[in-house]
Symmetry: C2
Subunit: 313 residues, 2 copies
């Protein structure tokens, strides 16, 4: 079977650029939407040109020009969208409704992967108020896709290493490891899935032509990357040969500390609460709604968390 | 002679990141200042980590903490600074006074390369009012360096390809080539130096241990990259096998078009005026104050402009 043509929307972003690379690496004819709104952002333009040099096709198109989206979508078989959905960066999830419209009208798309890549929004039923719109908006997009009868795969990628592993999931304004003191959420024993971002991209692209993932959710839960917060800290202690002072934060104190914070920061804290106190990346069984990535694609040599942390030594 | 230890300040920026790579490639022990102000800018943090993976040392230091700058500077022999000096991005040239203070106090620096990388500010004597502070501020930094007796090299890199070559130096809000119509500045016959940014970095690093460049200015003028605006357009016409409609803009019309523009955009236009109407990258002889890069380092296989433009095909 020949590999599907893949269009990446958001191909210069944090996950998008990795998906472009993974798509090229896995031999898909790869198309990247180039939005005129890019303007003078020379780093992004040169990133697009570097993709082009590696064989990607740059396709012009704008979210404020339906015809251009339609033309772009008609050139490919698969669309992967990676709009940001976090409040401290940008939150554009609903913009995808325009893409859904174009895909519906075009009628040729064999698989659409909307921007998810976090925890599964259909499983987060008791979300804190702040930041809740991420899950709500993703569910609105899911409904639009399913109502339109568009074949889909949802990607539940859980915790990106750059935000959760390098800084041992601290919320002290840094993405680098703490020096000597570390905050542990609750008893530190909830299971959490941590992922290398390149592996997220590799698994995502693996799924696009996989009939087992048609209208399903791909859950990224490679067994060796399921760790408690305490275990994450221990790995770093072992690597640095240092013992950290550990301050356990009760759920009440954590929630109280959020009061008065900026909205975006508060939303980030709420996410942490769901992950480290509710254990929302692991507190359900996958069941029939999907499959687990490392089981489906055992050939992917995913990055273990001790390897990931070695970059920060 | 062993290679000097090089500290790059601004190592995640447009030119800075290329200088880090060039320094590593040329075998210099390479240090990159990591400013705590980087906060949650994950792209920059991961860029720093990738430099680290290639052998660079990350050194923490802040412009609001003199001691930290002093400690950073004391670890190396050479400091290269690449703060932005363009108004539409950011303009921090004078922040370097703090670096000059640290270098002066440290007393161990064998060569300092302040942020220049454009046209030689000492040669731009009749600058338009808008954007003039770039040249003025760079001259203030030069005076501080020379008053402090710090050994220096200034880099006059002229026109970066990403801003001037890819879009054929058009000012239409895009960094991609125009479609069918091109504005030509004046008669289109002023000579202009266009540079590949990686070559700028390579030449810059070449100069740091070169006694010929002690207290001199390195001018980047590789002969095959000295082109008129008309010649630049012709190369693109040849590559695309297309003839463009050419609209010549008189200097009067160009200046009149600037009235009422945003300051940053106006400053960019003023820069273009000096380059394409005054010919300020080539309207003087280098003389004893410096040397020309491709003559000094003929072993560097610099990128020709037709090769540069092929990336945009």
């Amino acid at each position: 079977m020949s590999k599907s043509k893949v269009l990446v929307v958001g191909g210069t972003g944090y996950i998008g650029k990795r998906i472009v690379k993974a798509s090229l690496a896995q031999g898909h004819p790869t198309y990247v939407l180039m939005r005129p709104e890019i303007g003078f952002d020379i780093e992004k333009i040169q990133m697009l040109l570097s993709f082009k040099e590696k064989g990607a096709h740059l396709v012009e198109g704008s979210f404020s020009d339906h015809q251009s989206l339609l033309d772009a979508v008609k050139q490919v078989d698969v669309v992967i969208c990676t709009m940001a959905g976090v409040q401290f960066r940008s939150h554009n999830i609903l913009l995808q409704l325009k893409l859904v419209d174009a895909i519906k009208e075009a009628g040729n798309i064999k698989r659409f992967l909307p921007s998810e890549f976090g925890m599964d929004p259909s499983r987060v039923t008791h979300s804190l108020e702040t930041g809740k719109e991420t899950f709500g908006d993703k569910m609105i997009i899911r409904k639009a896709i399913e109502d339109a009868g568009i074949p889909y795969t949802y990607i539940s990628a859980n915790c990106f290493g750059g935000y959760f592993v390098g800084n041992l999931s601290q919320l002290d304004g840094s993405l680098m490891p703490p020096r000597d003191r570390v905050r542990i959420y609750g008893d530190g024993n909830q299971k959490v899935v941590f992922m290398d971002e390149d592996d997220v991209a590799t698994y995502t692209v693996k799924s696009v032509d996989d009939p087992r993932m048609l209208n399903k959710t791909l859950y990224l839960r490679p067994p060796e990357n399921i760790l408690t917060h305490s275990q994450l800290v221990e790995i770093w202690e072992k690597l640095t040969n240092k013992t950290f002072q550990k301050v356990h934060i009760s759920p009440q104190d954590f929630l109280a500390s959020m009061i008065g914070m900026d909205y975006g920061v508060q939303a980030a804290h709420a996410r942490m609460y769901h992950i480290f106190y509710d254990g929302c990346t692991m507190n359900f069984d996958i069941g029939d709604a999907g499959g687990e990535a490392s089981e489906l694609y055992p050939e992917v040599p995913y990055t273990r968390i001790d390897e990931y942390l070695q970059r920060y030594l």
